[in-house]
């Protein structure tokens, strides 16, 4: 089984961007408000498919408040920035920038598979088409060598490019906006030290109408809330550091928070799990059945540091996140993230009734489970710590959608290997041995045995996944 708690998708997996990028093209800088003054209302929750325009009244109300706040920020921020920008020649600043670039997992998109570091070109398959991650080496003609620091900060924090063009939120600026200017300047200082690579990337490969970057103005209005993270004085310093990382650089919600039809975060369901790129990024709330309510702080730290703990082993996109990012963070930062994550209230769990063992599908699933799965995952679903993930009571197998389970049964998977847990165990593909109804039955059985309860899986779900896996690049 896999854990798909990833802030980042990898090319290997087939795509990197969560569903729903909004798209946006050039705009007239004079006609539109600058990024720093643009109102960025936060819409109230809405149902998938609900019309965007219907939300405008709420948006407008929010916008007035936000505009005032943003104006204040602008004033304060610019004055502060000029006075306090870190020395980009300082070793400490460059090293800090390297660390923050890891925390932000820049390399996941900006380094193509087999390509040179940060030279871009990695394809991001989105539901709207393909985007290529740009070259962010200091190369003058094709990288960001000619960008000013302010342009760089504006891109990271506000999704606005050097020519005031709008970036697509495959670049997770809705999260990076919470990072401090100091941290972003440090990242710039680090990027200035990497090998300049001449590699021209045409980022926007989207078809019409998604290739019109202007559309991002509207999207930003609806779903983008700019502003650096503000500490909550009622919480500990560790909690605040964790929140800064989880909601900022690590951009966990990019995968784990459900998206609406336009790809905006459904913030009232934050971290409740989401399907993307044929994976299910699971629920990270405090729910004990589907979330991480039963995990201790140390369990979370161990998972992020080594990719495994007594419950689970990361694979799929989360394996990439562990490899590129979290396994390199300091124990203090991982602990801070864990403390913040542990403080999320439960959500998205519900109380489903398990499918009865009298159901013929369950009986079929049990027979297949004994024959194909039990040798490793054990008859009682306990698994083997560090090797074969636990299925009994495991949140990952009880998510509202069985996307990841179906996928790993069909495709197999390889868990992450880290210095702390170098094994990297694998599960084989069963696509050639099990029919669609077989896979549906065994996954239904796993989701509803040993105290587990989750909606059953239909053979058509399996058929759709087979098709999707064949089509993925």
């Amino acid at each position: 089984m896999q854990s798909v708690t990833s802030p980042r998708l990898r090319e290997e997996v087939g795509s990197r961007a969560p569903r729903g990028f909004r798209v946006r093209g050039k705009r007239d800088p004079a006609a539109a408000p600058s990024a720093r003054t643009r109102p960025s209302p936060r819409p109230s929750p809405r149902k998938r498919g609900e019309g965007v325009l219907s939300r405008y009244p709420a948006v407008e109300r929010c916008a007035i408040r936000t505009l005032l706040l943003a104006g204040a920020l602008l004033l304060f921020g610019n004055v502060g920035a000029l006075a306090r920008d870190p020395d980009k020649q300082s070793f400490q600043v460059i090293e800090h920038g390297r660390y923050m670039a890891i925390a932000g997992d820049c390399t996941a998109c900006h380094t193509a598979k087999g390509g040179q570091p940060f030279a871009g070109g990695g394809a991001l398959e989105t539901p709207f088409g393909t985007l290529l991650a740009p070259n962010i080496t200091p190369d003058l003609p094709t990288g960001i060598g000619s960008w000013t620091d302010d342009q760089f900060v504006n891109a990271v924090q506000n999704g606005v490019g050097r020519r005031s063009d709008h970036l697509y939120p495959a670049m997770p600026y809705p999260y990076y906006t919470r990072m401090t200017r100091e941290d972003i300047i440090a990242i710039r200082a680090y990027l200035d030290t990497v090998e300049p690579v001449q590699n021209k990337v045409i980022a926007n490969q989207l078809p019409f109408p998604f290739n019109q970057r202007e559309a991002m103005v509207g999207w930003n209005l609806l779903y983008f809330k700019p502003g650096v993270f503000k500490s909550d004085p009622g919480k500990s310093a560790e909690w605040n550091r964790g929140a800064y990382l989880v909601e900022g650089a690590e951009h966990c919600g990019l995968c784990h928070t459900p998206k609406n039809a336009m790809g905006g975060d459904e913030n009232d369901r934050a971290m409740q799990g989401s399907v993307l790129q044929n994976w299910y990024a699971p629920n990270l709330t405090g729910d004990r059945r589907v979330g991480i309510g039963d995990w201790t702080t140390q369990d979370i730290v161990l998972y992020l540091k080594t990719g495994r703990n007594r419950y689970d082993i990361a694979s799929g996109p989360m394996a990439e996140a562990v490899t590129n990012s979290t396994s390199h963070l300091t124990d203090a930062d991982l602990r801070a993230m864990a403390i913040y994550l542990k403080d999320q209230s439960a959500g998205g769990g519900g109380m489903p009734q398990p499918v009865s063992m009298q159901d013929p599908t369950m009986q079929r699933g049990q027979a297949i489970y004994y024959d194909r799965c039990a040798a490793c995952h054990t008859v009682g679903g306990e698994g083997i710590v560090g090797l074969f993930p636990r299925l009994s009571g495991a949140p990952l197998v009880q998510q509202s959608q069985a996307t990841s389970l179906i996928r790993v049964v069909l495709e197999g998977s390889r868990a992450v290997a880290t210095n702390g847990a170098p094994t990297g165990p694998a599960m084989p593909s069963f696509a050639w041995q099990l029919s669609d109804p077989d896979v549906a039955a065994v996954v239904t059985y796993i989701r509803n045995s040993w105290g587990n309860a989750a909606p059953p899986v239909a053979a058509s779900d399996v058929a759709n996944m087979r098709k999707a896996l064949l089509e993925q690049p």
Binding site: C376, A426, P428, S429
Partner: protein, 588 residues
């Protein structure tokens, strides 16, 4: 013409068990290591997924993991008066190929030798007098003692997570373990595997007869285990597809499952697969290796210079490479002089097949090394004076498999095919057991390896020629062990027992074991050994040679634990002495 590559610190020839152990140890010390492996890359996830790895036809019948005879083979004869002919289809033993080597397809029986096995010549001469030994027997002491090796046995067993029941902890005998074993510094890392029905009944019978049965030590684990390198193994699932197969359940200790995940993460390690070393190069003094020459899969020749060379190929191929590289004096059977090729030994196995009417054993519930054994008749654990032979072996009911294609037990007299044969297989499949003996094989003057004068490999190099036969001493031993085994089996109440002791000449055709030994043996005298007690070549000080190739003679146990312990022993000397002061570690 070989293209010369940039120099590295260490070259490892062969990435099997000992090559992996050496590479892990040397990279941990910060040295740059290049391992050159004749066969393909193999790892658990991509090569042995449990959804297709239990394929008897592919792996057990067609021998997918082994070297192809078209790639290389050897010639065989029973004695120097015969003309050796090339082996064109593997039989008596199966030679490994590829990353993990024989560590991929072994059964994981993880035995220590007896303390007396390391001082065999001294022990037997003192106890029985020199005249008790056959005059052409060429056994020697190893040059290292059990007590010296104990920490390194321990190290390998903790790497593997070996499952077993200790019989001797720091000199204190322990119940349910092997009372004859040498002292262990601590218990096995994991408890013994659970035993199936047959071994349980066999052990009860052995106990009734006054013996001390104990579970065979197993590298197929009884429970999950994370080794000191941080790699995790799972419990064996008793699938019965172990020997000749890779393990996809992460439960059989192998280089893939215990070392390679860590080694492959190290930036100072590089493995070059499908590259065959053709020569160890020497400088103009002939006393120092300068590196190796190898040929890649496209036929291109490369020279890899190195400061230290570890020769870690399979036993037979270690000897071949030494001979082809002109290192050490080749053994001459006529004069008895020379060391390279000297003291080839093997293993003398036998069995007693037992057919039952009223018992269902389900022998397909099996792991590579599950079973109950006794050690009363191993090594010098018993007085040989009345019997007129030396040596011995463990006796046991070991249940490794009942795979459908090759497991067709029928009583003698059954037709070889047709309806009656099918009925007999059906009637006997579940109710037949095959307990076995695992006997020593001592060394003799006329058992040796040299280069074949006629047959050449695909590079035009002479093939290895094996001259070997069983000697009277070993055949007597096999008869004795088989009789003792049959007595125990008889107590279980079978309908019929068929004793199958080793008899007659050694045949290269039926499979026996892959425990070929010797040819570049360790010792204390450069006239009778190729390597000193630290496995360092007497002639070329920066060349070390590992494997069962080191054994002056073979004991009544499976060799891997001792092979690995000797490797760790060698590495300790390399780290503590050789790296600080390169040169001969022992002055002859």
């Amino acid at each position: 013409m070989a293209t010369k590559l940039p120099a590295t610190d260490v070259v490892v020839i062969g990435l099997g068990w000992t090559g992996s152990i050496v590479a892990e140890s040397m990279t941990a010390a910060g040295l740059n290591v290049v391992a050159i492996e004749r066969g393909p890359w193999r790892d658990t996830a991509t090569d042995f997924p449990p959804s297709y790895s239990p394929d008897e036809l592919r792996y057990a019948v067609r021998l997918d993991l082994f070297v192809r005879t078209a790639q290389t083979t050897l010639t065989f004869r029973n004695n120097p008066r015969q003309t050796a002919l090339p082996v064109r289809e593997w039989g008596a033993f199966l030679l490994p190929n590829g990353v993990g080597g024989a560590g991929v397809h072994w059964n994981a029986e993880t035995w220590r030798f007896l303390p007396s096995d390391f001082v065999l010549k001294t022990q037997l001469t003192q106890r029985y007098g020199a005249k008790f030994l056959p005059p052409d027997m060429t056994i020697q002491d190893y040059g290292v003692t059990y007590d010296e090796l104990e920490p390194y046995y321990d190290k390998f067993e903790y790497l593997c997570g070996t499952s077993g029941t200790a019989g001797n902890l720091r000199g204190q005998k322990q119940p349910f373990g092997n009372p004859f074993e040498g002292p262990r510094s601590r218990p096995y890392p994991t408890p013994a595997q659970k035993q199936p029905y047959g071994p349980v009944l066999w052990a009860e019978a052995a106990k009734e007869m006054g013996y001390s049965p104990f579970p065979q030590p197993s590298g197929n684990l009884s429970q999950g285990y994370t080794n000191p390198l941080g790699v995790t193994l799972g419990p064996c699932t008793f699938c019965g597809f172990c020997e000749r197969f890779g393990c996809g359940n992460y439960s059989k200790a192998s280089p893939q499952i215990t070392i390679l995940p860590v080694l492959m993460r190290r930036a100072n390690f590089e493995a070059r697969t499908e590259c065959e070393v053709t020569k160890i190069n020497l400088d103009n003094t002939g006393k120092r290796a300068t590196g190796v020459t190898y040929t890649d899969s496209q036929g291109r020749e490369w020279e890899q210079p190195a400061e230290i060379v570890f020769l870690c190929a399979f036993q037979m191929f270690n000897v071949q490479l030494l001979l082809l590289s002109g290192i050490g004096q080749p053994y001459d059977v006529n004069t008895g002089e020379g060391v390279i090729g000297r003291n080839f030994s093997y293993q003398v196995t036998s069995s007693a097949q037992a057919f039952f009417d009223n018992k269902i054993f389900n022998t397909f519930i099996a792991s590579g090394s599950i079973g109950m054994c006794i050690d009363e008749f191993n090594g010098d654990n018993f007085d040989h004076a009345p019997y007129g032979f030396v040596g011995g072996g463990y006796i046991g009911m070991v249940q490794t498999n009942a795979r459908p294609i090759e497991t067709t037990p029928v009583p003698p007299g059954t037709p070889k095919w047709g309806a009656a044969w099918k009925k007999a297989v059906r009637d006997n499949y579940l109710s037949t057991i095959l307990p076995a003996t695992h006997g020593s094989c001592y060394s003799y003057r006329d058992c040796y390896l040299d280069l074949d004068p006629t047959y050449k490999d695909r590079f035009g190099r002479p093939l290895m020629r094996l001259t070997f036969d069983f000697h009277e001493n070993e055949l007597k031993m096999s008869q004795f062990l088989t009789d003792r085994l049959a007595e125990i089996v008889q107590k279980m109440g079978p309908r019929q027992i068929v004793k199958l002791p080793r008899t007659g000449h050694c045949s290269i055709v039926p499979y026996q074991t892959t425990h070929t030994c010797g040819g570049a043996i360790m010792g204390i005298d450069p006239k009778t050994s190729a390597l000193n007690r630290y496995l360092q070549s007497w002639d070329v000080h920066n060349l070390f040679v590992t494997g069962a190739t080191n054994f002056p003679q073979n004991a009544g146990y499976n060799p891997t634990d001792t092979v690995a312990a000797l490797t760790y022993w060698m590495l300790d000397a390399v780290h503590k002495q050789y790296l600080k002061n390169p040169g001969p570690l022992v002055h002859a």
